[in-house]
Symmetry: C2
Subunit: 335 residues, 2 copies
């Protein structure tokens, strides 16, 4: 069976020294301090150690074999977004990352599918790069759950989503720049608590800001099973019902009506929660995801789903059909 991992991250092995080039800012660079590993540095600050499966296409394919997974949807690592930089400098960074992914997709057309990154801090520049992404063979973009602390419903971001719909480019929303992170560094809480909240905030912004309503053909996937959105939909819907003066101010359609209209990935790390998401959302709107190659990801690429003894149709939906419909691609192109 075709198995497509819809949520993985990749980065070029070598990055330019953008801080030197632009003369400001803590752009990310890589220190290849030992064989097979690199340190991601943000200015002089150590951000994270990564392994060669973060940049080596062949090692990735090799690691995926043991989980019978043929295809990877790749996008950059959220810390690379550089939304805080000057728009044209972020464009420069984005182009470098997007060209790398485009090259990969060209080399391995049946193994890799690419999503780009665009300077969301400037819609005009973002759309310019979005169009170029499409031309070089990427099928969508990954964006953050907020843009420099601003919510995705802000009108200034709307033209980018409008262009995505018009160009048929899919969107993956990934949590980053997590709420509350300054006050809960201990125990990795920005990743464990902040990230699911971020994704919830992003889905609420899409719904209450009327983005889904105004762009019915926009195809959006939310990371980590949509964060806490689906499990807290009772509270969110009740909030909409009891205080429409606060919640229904930009869109009169109830939040529950949007369930099943967007995609979420399967990263719950828990069969019981995945069952809940399936009951809510239907398997046709759940894409296999892993967050590979990071340790917090599902690095057995959906093995727990195989162990759930789901009906064949659900397995096929989750393992490839949902991703193909999200990205508007055909099964035959990967056989």
């Amino acid at each position: 069976m075709l198995k497509i991992d819809a949520h993985t991250h990749i980065i070029p092995k070598k990055l330019p020294n953008w801080s030197d080039k632009f003369g400001y800012g803590d752009f990310i660079y890589l220190q290849h301090h030992k064989k097979g590993f690199a340190k991601m540095m943000r200015g002089n600050q150590f951000f994270r150690e990564i392994k060669e499966n973060c940049w080596d296409a062949d090692i990735r394919l090799e690691e995926y074999k043991q989980f019978h997974t043929n295809v990877q949807v790749v996008c950059t690592i959220p810390v690379m977004f550089s939304y805080w930089a000057k728009p044209l400098d972020c464009l420069d960074v984005s182009k470098f990352l997007n060209d790398h992914i485009a090259e990969l997709v060209k080399t391995y057309p049946k193994q890799y599918i690419g999503l780009g990154t665009v300077p969301m801090q400037d819609a005009e520049v973002a759309i310019q790069e979005l169009e170029r992404c499409r031309e070089i063979g990427l099928v969508g973009i990954q964006i953050g759950s907020n843009i420099n602390d601003e919510n995705l419903n802000e009108e200034k971001f709307f033209p980018v989503f409008e262009a995505c719909e018009k160009l048929g480019m899919a969107v993956l929303v990934h949590p980053w720049n997590m709420m509350g992170q300054k006050n809960m560094q201990r125990y990795w809480l920005p990743w464990l608590v902040g990230m699911p909240a971020e994704t919830t905030r992003a889905i609420c912004s899409f719904i209450f800001g009327g983005i889904f309503e105004r762009l019915p053909n926009l195809r959006v996937n939310f990371a980590h099973a949509g964060g806490s959105f689906l499990p807290t939909i009772g509270r969110i819907q009740h909030g909409f019902d009891c205080r429409p003066d606060l919640v229904a101010i930009d869109n009169p359609v109830p939040p529950k009506n949007y369930i099943g209209k967007f995609w979420v990935d399967s990263i719950t790390h828990d069969p019981m929660m995945l069952e809940y998401v399936m009951k809510m959302q239907g398997s046709a709107k759940i894409t296999l995801g892993s967050d590979y190659p990071f340790p917090l990801g599902d690095l057995e690429i959906g093995k727990f789903i195989e162990d759930m003894n789901l009906p064949k149709e659900d397995i096929e939906n989750i393992f490839y059909r949902s991703t193909l419909t999200w990205l508007n691609l055909n099964e035959k192109d990967f056989k």
Copy 2:
């Protein structure tokens, strides 16, 4: 059947002008601007309009009759915590609120159960008031999900929890001072997204900080079904497993081991989510809750649970037994 609502809020009809008394700070006061209503003011800022069911004991009992609910566990409104104030001034505020609840419990011993509030910003003062709370007939305290942005695992708060265990005082953890609230005011997101994240942060702080481990007899209940903790336990457990160097630094026991050791209330607004919580946690650790009298609460006091056709034992657990064990009380005292 006995039916106890374990999560409701109450406030005295008249509050002193603490800002005038202490000469600083935006303490809450009430403006009774029209019959049956009051404005909660924080300094000159309007915070929230409340109705007389927020302070009138008889109206509350009357409203509860239609939902066949005999008993209410009452505590203050989180905005009254005043953790930001000087400890002795907060003590003054706490005493006023606690005396009001103690008086209520004395007048209606079969209808009201009381939880106090204590100055968490100073453990010594907090414990002094905790002891007094016990003497005046309160059975526990309500605390915030963070104390002035600091997490509950901070060592300086531990003596308060230790004293709670020693004195047999229960704890209700309520979300407040929500992460990310500054950047997501629109659409009521601090309440819809921030609150479930706050409660998750609090449970993680109790677990990873080793509070449950060090105080096995401490009885703690978390509001709103524990926020997003139970639905995201897969991610939290996986984070603990894959990065113990970040997560297991203060307590080597896996987070899943604590499921069923604390209580959560039933406020999911959704039968499917409550089923999930029951499967995780067991009905013996789920207390009926409403967040009455606020609109975001379950103001039908668990009617959706009655409609779920649960086995009698589960209904009895949720409707009164779990609350009695959490608070160490006896059924016969309310008959």
